[in-house]
Symmetry: C2
DNA sequence: ATGTAACCGGAGGATGAACCTCCGTCTAGT
DNA sequence: ACTAGACGGAGGTTCATCCTCCGGTTACAT
């Protein structure tokens, strides 16, 4: 593969990731090409169709975040620090932003994707389990909670906010979230995870939705 | 105004709010009409154009959440409980979801909108100030933090998730957030709000974005 | 330096979605 | 029972996106 072709492939993958995140799975392929700074023909030549492009984007995201998880585990002895590093890495990689957007359109049975998914999930799960075992994280916080909060933190805020600001805010709010996850002395169960729905319902008594 | 016309107006406002949240400010007006269960002509007859519809949606949202804030303050003696009730109410009203989506397209100078905005903001601000004064909320948590986290919590998650699940998750995650906001003994400043950016930078050293 | 295989960009016809008006029908309220 | 006022949806127009084809350009080996 020629060097320029390789470079354009990577530019297209990045652009596709960002545009899918912003505009959803039906985003214009021409906008992706435009954003990558290449012609539309180059996109079609490289990826054939929308499906193949989505597949490539998701595969790259899974591989990158698996590596990030391994790296976080290797570099940080303290489990909470490792988890924190992983959370920030995933925000930078936009993994949690792009995958849910494309999930419905993917063939998850496809072996290449399935392998990458399992690998990524198992390493991330190990990170949280370690944090739990060390007593660093609230007991009632699940893997799903963290995953979904990462989705929320990854998604771009609506309106015209410069990308650097978006990123800075996401990382700041991630810290806010991590404080919420952290085990504290007064460790009451969280409504919805267990039995304490009554308390939540009480607090939600408010003026009716008009 | 005839009763059926009034009912259709309200259905349209609700549908418009939801569709704008899901599809952004350029959402199809025909989809809005479809979702409201009325003909497209009814939408045009009632609101004239997209601009007027957006205006009406935002105005309704501001008024409703101002009322919710007053209600929360009136009903809860404890400032943290009041704040909690307000957060859950705003999630139900979708205020924080719809306003940022339409913000760029609105004429904020427009008096009717400006009045509603000031009123809503000042009441909400009073809620947080009270919580701060009571020492119930971390000192480095700003009004902007809460507002933006509400935006994140309000936005629909991508993919095919049933609305009830979306709502339940949003409220659960709101609790997670509120725990993070709550003042705790080991009350280190949050990176980004003050000076402690070095720590954040250290934790963010991870595998490079590919 | 030069040849060439591989790569590139963009024009352009086809398609389909959304806009917005017009008009014949229906019904809420007196 | 009457009618003012509200209703729905057809349809002409406009416009973005799709995807292919082809003439020009470039990386790289010799």
């Amino acid at each position: 593969m020629r060097a320029d072709a390789l470079r354009n492939s990577e530019l297209l993958l990045q652009a596709a990731r960002d545009v899918f995140v912003e505009r959803g799975p039906d985003a214009s392929l021409e906008e992706i090409a435009r954003r990558a700074g290449v012609g539309i023909a180059t996109l079609y030549r490289r990826f054939g169709d929308r499906q193949a492009l989505m597949h490539a984007v998701v595969h790259a995201a899974l591989v990158a975040s698996a590596e990030a998880a391994e790296h976080a585990q290797r570099e940080h002895a303290d489990p909470f620090d490792a988890l924190t590093a992983y959370v920030h890495a995933v925000l930078d990689l936009r993994t949690s932003a792009v995958i849910p957007v494309l999930l419905d359109r993917l063939d998850l049975a496809e072996p290449e994707l399935d392998t990458a998914r399992r690998r990524s999930a198992s390493i991330a799960d190990r990170l949280l389990t370690a944090a739990h075992r060390a007593g660093a994280v609230r007991k009632d916080v699940t893997f799903g909670d963290i995953g979904l909060m990462l989705v929320r933190l990854s998604r771009p805020l609506p309106g015209q906010i410069p990308p650097e600001t978006q990123d800075a805010l996401a990382h700041r709010h991630a810290e806010l979230l991590l404080r919420g996850l952290r085990a504290v002395p007064s460790d009451e169960p969280l409504p919805g995870s267990g039995l304490e729905l009554a308390q939540l319902r009480r607090l939600r008594r408010h003026a009716p939705t008009t």
